[in-house]
Subunit: 321 residues, 2 copies
C-alpha cells in the first residue's frame, strides 16, 4: 500500500464504525437507503482529512472523529441529492438511492443525513464543536451555491473560465476545505493553523476537480465509470470547455454546437484538445496542488500527519486515481 | 381582527423582514425560487409562536426572532421538498417550486434553506443560540422521521391509529413544538418553562393535524384548496381512515378497497363516517387542544403573550381556519 492508501485505511477503521453508528440512529425507512448508499464504498477522503488534520495539530487523530463523521454525512447527502438532479441511475456500478428507492425517499434520506451531521456536532456542544458546526454550515452553504451555479451553467451557452473555477471552488473545494480544517478546530489548533489547512483543502479541491474535468472528457470509461464524453453530451460547463471556448472564439462555439447537435463527441473532443485547453487545465491542477502543499508547509504541524495529508493530496489529484 | 390574527400580523412585521434578509444572502440562482415560494404567503404560525414564546418568558418578543427565522426556514424547506415528493403542482393556487423551476432546483433550494437555518443560529454562538440550534436539529430529525413514516404508510395496506398518531406527532408536531419552545430558549427561560411550551406546541400540532385530516376528507374544496377526498385517492393513511379501518374490521377493508378501485370517493367517505371515525378524530383534536392549553397554564408566563399563544392554538385548530 502507498502512504495515501495506508492513511485512508487507518482513517476508515477509525471513522467507519462511528459513521455506521450515526446512520444506525435513523428509523428503518431512512436507514435502509442510507446504508445502501454507504455500502457503495467511497474512499472516505473527507473523513480521512478530518482525522489527519486533528492528528497534525494534537498528535491524536481521534480528536477529529466527530468532524469526520459530520463531513462524510454532508458529502453523502450531497451525492444522494446530486444523483437525483443529474438523473444518474448508477454510482460505482450500483443503483443510486433514487433509482433503487424512488425520488421521494432519496430526498428525505439526504435531508436526514444533512441534519444528522448537525446533531452529531451539537449534542455535546463544547466551544470547539460549536465552532466546527459553524464551519460546516458555512462550507455547506458554499457547496450548495456551487451546485446551484453548476446547474445554472448547463442552461447557459458559454461560461467564462473564471466563473467555472469559482463554481468548482464552491461545489468541490468548500467541503474539502472544511474537512481539512475541521480536525484542527476540534483538536484546538490556532487560527493560523486552521486557516492554512482550510487553504490546503480548498486548493486540493480545485486540483481534484480540474483533473476530474479532464477525465470527464479524455478519461478511460473503465476507470471513470462514465461513458466517453459524458460531460460534453450533458452540456456540463467544465473547465476544459470554458477555456477552449475562450481560446477558440465564436468559430469554436459554432463548431462545438454543430458536433454537439450531431452527438459527435470524438470530433468535439479533438477540437477542444486542439486549443490547448487540456494542457492548460492540467497546469491549473498542478498549480493548485503546489499551492495546497505550500499552505500545508506554512504552519507547524506534527510531521507524520502532514506527510499523510500531502500524500492524500497527491493521491486524489493523480490522473489514474 | 381576532386576537390570533393580530398576534400573527405583529409577529409577521417582526419576523418577515429578517426572513427576507436571510433569504437575500443566497445567490440569485437559489434566491429567486426561494422568494417565489415565500411570496405565496403562509400564515407564519411557527415564526409567531417563536416570538410569542420569547415574549411569554422575557416580555420581549424580539428575543425570539433568530429562532423564528430558523423555524420558518426549516418549515419552508420541508414544504418545498414535500411538494416534490407528493407531486403537487400547486400550493396556495400558485405553481410549487419544482413545477416552476424544476425538481433539481427545488431540491437544492430546500437544502439551502435548511442549511441557512443553522447558519443563522450559529453565527453568533451564545449558549442560548447553541441550545436553540440543538433543539432545532433534534426537532428536524423527528420531522423527517415522521415524513418518512408517512411515505412508508402509503405503501402499506393498513396502519394502526397509534402508528398514525405517532407519525403525525413527528411530521407536524415536532416543528410546532420546537417553534413554541425556541423563543423561551433564546429568552433564557428555565427548563420547566421550555418543557411546558414544547408540550404545548406538540399537542397543538396533533390537534392541527387531526383537524387537517378531517378536512382532507370532509372539507370544502374551496376552503382547503384540495380536491374532495384527495387524501383517500392518494392512499394517504390519515387518522380517520386508520380509525375507521380499526372499527370496521375486514369487512370495511374490503368495502374501502372496492370503492377506492372504482375511484368512488363519496361512497368511501360515507363508509368511513358511518364508523364514527370523524367524530372520534374531532374528539382527539379537542383533547389535544385541551392538553396544549393545560401545559401552557402550568408555568409562570407573561399573561398577554400566554393569551396570544392560546388564541393561536384555537385559531390553527379551528375547522374553518
Amino acid at each position: 500500500m502507498s502512504r495515501a492508501t495506508e492513511a485512508l485505511a487507518r482513517a476508515s477503521a477509525l471513522v467507519g464504525p462511528e459513521l455506521d453508528k450515526a446512520v444506525g440512529r435513523l428509523g428503518a425507512e431512512l436507514r435502509q437507503p442510507a446504508e445502501h448508499h454507504l455500502a457503495g464504498g467511497g474512499k472516505g477522503v473527507r473523513g480521512a482529512l478530518a482525522v489527519l488534520g486533528a492528528g497534525a495539530c494534537s498528535g491524536n487523530e481521534a480528536d477529529g472523529v466527530p468532524g469526520a463523521v459530520a463531513v462524510e454525512l454532508v458529502h453523502n447527502y450531497s451525492l444522494i441529492h446530486d444523483d437525483i438532479i443529474d438523473n444518474d441511475e448508477e454510482r460505482r456500478h450500483r443503483p443510486t438511492v433514487w433509482s433503487a428507492f424512488g425520488v421521494g425517499r432519496a430526498i428525505v434520506v439526504g435531508d436526514a443525513l444533512a441534519n444528522l451531521a448537525n446533531q452529531i456536532l451539537l449534542e455535546d456542544p463544547t466551544p470547539r464543536r460549536v465552532r466546527a458546526a459553524q464551519l460546516l454550515a458555512e462550507s455547506t452553504a458554499l457547496m450548495i451555491a456551487g451546485q446551484a451555479d453548476d446547474m445554472a451553467f448547463e442552461r447557459l451557452g458559454s461560461v467564462s473560465a473564471e466563473a467555472c473555477l469559482k463554481m468548482e471552488e464552491g461545489k468541490t473545494g468548500a467541503l474539502l476545505s472544511c474537512a481539512s480544517a475541521i480536525g484542527a478546530v476540534l483538536a484546538g489548533g490556532d487560527d493560523a493553523t486552521i486557516k492554512a489547512l482550510a487553504t490546503f483543502g480548498l486548493r486540493v479541491g480545485v486540483a481534484f476537480q480540474a483533473v476530474d474535468d479532464v477525465l470527464g472528457i479524455w478519461g478511460e470509461p473503465e476507470l471513470t465509470g462514465k461513458p466517453v464524453g459524458s460531460d460534453l453530451l450533458t452540456h456540463k460547463k467544465s473547465l476544459p470547455v470554458a477555456i477552449a471556448r475562450a481560446r477558440g472564439g465564436e468559430e469554436l462555439d459554432r463548431v462545438l454546437d454543430a458536433v454537439a447537435a450531431e452527438g459527435d463527441v470524438e470530433a468535439a473532443t479533438r477540437h477542444i484538445e486542439a486549443t490547448g485547453a487540456r494542457d492548460e487545465v492540467m497546469a491549473i491542477a498542478e498549480r493548485a496542488l503546489a499551492e495546497a502543499l505550500e499552505a500545508l508547509g506554512s504552519v507547524p504541524l506534527v510531521d507524520r500527519y502532514r506527510d499523510d495529508m500531502a500524500a492524500l493530496a497527491h493521491f486524489v489529484t493523480a490522473r489514474d486515481r
